[in-house]
């Protein structure tokens, strides 16, 4: 192993059923370096981390770590830890009910005979935290402290267990600016102590604030490794999103502006939800397709969730067709003609054990109310209609939805909402994890619907897809809406610039 290098991963391959999650990926981490691992959804960063920490097994390739002869294979997070690789996740893995000192030493408590030596444990804990410049009461329960402190405690625990490699998996997503800065101070301190840090984040600013190198992944392959100063933001965004247009024909006629009526369907005034999306304004016209763009975690999903009432907004006002609407629950939004296809299909979209038919009719049934059950015949007709329109591939309308492929599940949910005949349709990543053919079908459908007068909010990580379907775009960054792009401005470079933000 080269001197100065603490970890190498070479030619890593990993496949999940039907997906090549990692193909021939290399990764190198040096001592005393903070290394950003970047990529959009499905790029393979989390798979790479899982492979490294022993949560998932990899198929071929090798991992070497400084101080160990030969390649290592981690079969569990514990094994990775004994090999010197520790991870701190976004959801802090501490026990909130236990004291700070205990959380640092649980499983390896200092003992006097058979008993835990609390005195030594507290003393050690205080010394450890002092050395890292973290000032907390070591005998207080962890739940008394903010997420930021908890993150730092988790890091302190990891470092104290003699970590050579520290993986920080989106540690900053729920922190405010001050807290992030404190975390950075800690990271720099560890870096000076020679720890190699892998930093996974969605926030570009943070990458440029604290990292030395960036490795970019896309679609399970390595795009490249760069020094931070050699990779400007816009280029980073371009590398993450990929510039290569696929060979699909443009759906919209070039150069021809979409005609949008003046009729306002949705108007949000300073609508916001504490902790997820800062107050924003948004106007949606009849027959308009608005794209929400921004990196993962930028607040694009949170914005639509606030409109739909999935997370009840705690400030601002919402007007539907000029009428003020108080949304307490999704049903309120639905009764006013909204429909929402959530990002997380498995957890929030499908109702796994129910049949295709039940999954399709349930939203309309919820709108009609408990006592106005649609007749079985009616239900079957609707189901067959949408199976046909959307070309859903299912053995039968009574097949449980969980047995369908991801793309077909998505079509069923799309069918569910189209059946309610909404005026305003929110699609959050409708094409994720779906084969290319279905993707185009969904894009075409969106344009057809808009032509018929439906308003659509379309969220996607793929810029081309957005350019093809949207007539206007709102840009989000770090939890707030930062601007809008008119149709004439919709092109790769302007979008990427807007997403990246800041000075280059």
């Amino acid at each position: 192993m080269e001197s100065g290098v603490v970890l190498t991963m070479k030619n890593i391959y990993k496949t999940f059923p039907g997906v090549k999650a990692l193909q021939n990926v290399d990764f190198t981490l040096r001592k005393g370096e903070i290394h950003a691992l970047m990529g959009e959804n499905g790029a393979g960063k989390s798979t790479l981390i899982k492979v490294l920490t022993g949560v998932e097994e990899f198929e071929t390739g090798e991992i070497r770590i400084d101080g160990k002869d030969g390649a290592i294979i981690n079969r569990s997070p514990q094994e990775a830890q004994t090999n010197g690789i520790s991870t701190v996740y976004q959801e802090v893995n501490l026990c909130p009910n236990l004291s700070v000192a205990e959380n640092l030493y649980i499983g390896r408590e200092p003992r006097k005979g058979a008993f835990i030596d609390w005195g030594t444990m507290k003393k050690n804990a205080a010394e450890l935290l002092e050395s890292l410049d973290i000032h907390v009461d070591v005998s207080a329960a962890v739940e008394n402290y903010s997420i930021a402190i908890q993150q730092m405690l988790a890091i302190a625990r990891a470092v104290d267990m003699s970590a050579k490699v520290l993986i920080l998996d989106e540690p900053t997503s729920s922190l405010d600016d001050d807290e992030v800065e404190k975390l950075f101070v800690l990271m720099r301190r560890l870096k000076d102590q020679g720890v190699g840090i892998i930093f996974v984040t969605h926030f570009l600013e943070q990458v440029y604030a604290v990292c030395d190198r960036i490795t970019v992944l896309r679609n399970g392959t390595l795009v490249g490794e760069y020094k931070v100063e050699e990779l400007p933001r816009v280029q980073l965004v371009a590398k993450m999103m990929g510039k290569d247009f696929d060979d699909l024909a443009s759906l919209k006629k070039e150069g021809e502006a979409t005609k949008v009526s003046d009729e306002v369907v949705i108007e949000a005034k300073n609508l916001g939800h504490k902790g997820t999306i800062r107050p924003f304004n948004l106007t949606v016209h009849k027959g308009e397709v608005i794209g929400l763009t921004g990196l993962l975690g930028s607040g694009r999903s949170e914005l639509v969730r606030a409109i739909y009432g999935a997370d009840k907004p705690d400030e601002g006002e919402l007007f539907v067709k000029g009428e003020k609407l108080q949304v307490n629950m999704p049903i309120d939004a639905m009764m006013h003609g909204m429909a929402y296809l959530p990002e997380n299909r498995k957890e929030e979209g499908i109702i796994a054990d129910l049949s295709v038919r039940e999954n399709i009719i349930i939203a309309l049934q919820a709108k009609k109310g408990m006592f106005r059950l649609m007749s079985r015949k009616e239900q079957e007709e609707f189901t067959d209609e949408y199976i046909k329109i959307l070309q859903i591939k299912t053995a039968d309308r009574e097949t449980p939805i969980k047995q369908l492929s991801g793309g077909n599940q998505q079509k069923v949910i799309l069918g569910r909402w189209l059946l309610t005949n909404p005026d305003f349709l929110i699609l959050d990543e409708p094409t994720r994890g779906i084969d290319i053919g279905t993707k185009t079908e969904i894009q075409k459908l969106v344009l057809e619907l808009a032509e018929k007068g439906m308003s659509v909010i379309f969220i996607s990580s793929e810029v081309e897809e957005m350019i093809r379907t949207c007539s206007r775009m709102a840009v989000l960054r770090d939890g707030s809406k930062v601007g809008e792009l008119e149709e004439s401005e919709l092109n790769q470079s302007s979008i990427m610039k807007a997403i990246a933000g800041g000075a280059e």
């Binding site: 739909y308 999935a310 629950m329 999704p330 049903i331 639905m334 929402y340 959530p342 957890e347 929030e348 979209g349 499908i350 109702i351 796994a352 054990d353 129910l354 039940e358 349930i362 939203a363 049934q365 919820a366 709108k367 009609k368 109310g369 408990m370 006592f371 106005r372 059950l373 569910r416």
Partner: protein
């Protein structure tokens, strides 16, 4: 092979199989189990006895099925609620006396009061489970223990008798009807519930909430309201079961009405092929499950097992069924199968 698979995958396969098994055991041990005699236009026999005695359990199992499906937890207070309802009815009808030979208050008033109190118990459980989000079994534990105490207080610690022929009807038989009345009460409950499930969307809502409450919320369902309704309904049904049980002995015996019924009801739901984790359910499965359990109980009695001892066998059956449902066990079994396969595969290679 595929035919066999199709049969075993049929939803009601497990409950029917169990019922057949229990009946087979009887056929061997007690040959006159299936003998039915006719006296005065009434049917008599072990089987008739099972059908008669199972009625309260069927009623409870219907409510329990819905509560389990929506909330993924069981209501262990149903037996105690039966006792409370019985105590209220008898007390209203007797006007507070210990034993009466004619009503002090109209019959209908007593019935309504009993069911209303049971409904209040259901609301109490529903409030704790649906609104305060307390684990169903802990929430219902409160009434499970306090219920009989309340019933005792209502009856002032005595057994209140209502020795009126009309009061006995619900728990006995009427001339002209070949089967005892409780059977018809149970069937009425089953049919009304089936109609509710068929004619309204409540069944779909319950399953949806039980399977994925997050997604259900996003399609516009109010999950806490739906869970609350199932507990309310479960309370009312426990009240009806209490009425039947009380009518059988034309009295309110706070200590014994509905005793150990909660386990039977849970068992009926599990035997019916329903997951105790909630979600999709089969009402008919639970009904068949209830009859199976009563058949099992009657069988055990026929084998001279005392009523105090019967729970031992039921507890074992419960453990076996929930163990079989356990995904963890399935994982282990499939792992073992896989190991076997790879071993045999290596041999071939």
């Amino acid at each position: 092979m595929s035919k066999l698979k199709k049969i075993t995958q049929f939803r009601l396969f497990l409950p029917i199989l169990c019922l057949v098994l229990v009946l087979l055991v009887n056929l061997i041990t007690t040959p006159d189990f299936f003998a039915i005699s006719v006296r005065d236009g009434m049917l008599y026999g072990y089987i008739i006895d099972v059908i008669n005695r199972a009625s309260e359990l069927v009623i409870l199992a219907v409510g329990m099925t819905l509560m389990v499906a929506a909330s993924g937890g069981t209501d262990i207070s149903v037996g105690a609620v039966m006792a409370v309802a019985a105590a209220v009815v008898c007390n209203v009808l007797s006007g507070g006396q210990q034993s009466v030979t004619e009503y002090s208050n109209p019959y209908i008033l007593g019935i309504l009061a009993g069911i209303a109190v049971a409904a209040v118990c259901g609301c109490f459980n529903g409030f704790l489970v649906a609104k305060l989000k307390i684990q169903p079994m802990i929430a219902t534990l409160i009434l499970f223990t306090a219920g009989r105490g309340i019933a005792q207080l209502i009856t002032k610690g005595q057994i209140t008798y209502v020795r009126v022929d009309q009061y006995k009807v619900l728990g006995s038989s009427i001339k002209g009807l070949p089967l005892p009345v409780p059977f018809f009460v149970a069937m009425l409950v089953v049919i009304v519930t089936l109609l509710l499930l068929k004619r309204t969307a409540i069944g779909l809502y319950i399953e949806s909430v039980g399977i994925n409450s997050k997604a259900s919320r996003l399609v516009g369902l109010k999950s806490s309201k739906i869970i609350f309704l199932t507990y309310l309904f479960g309370g009312i049904l426990a009240g009806i079961a209490g009425l039947v049980a009380s009518s059988r002995i034309y009295s309110a015996d706070a200590n014994n009405i509905g005793l150990n019924m909660e386990l039977d009801a849970i068992l009926a739901v599990a035997l019916g092929g329903n997951s105790l984790g909630g979600g999709k359910f089969s009402l008919m499965g639970s009904v068949i499950g209830a009859y199976t359990i009563q058949a099992l109980t009657t069988t055990l009695y026929a084998m001279h097992v005392s009523s105090d001892q019967v729970p031992v066998y039921k507890a074992i059956v419960v453990v076996i069924i929930v163990s079989l449902q356990s995904p963890q066990l399935k994982k282990w079994v499939s792992k073992m199968k896989l190991n076997k396969k790879t071993v045999s595969g290596n041999e071939v290679a």
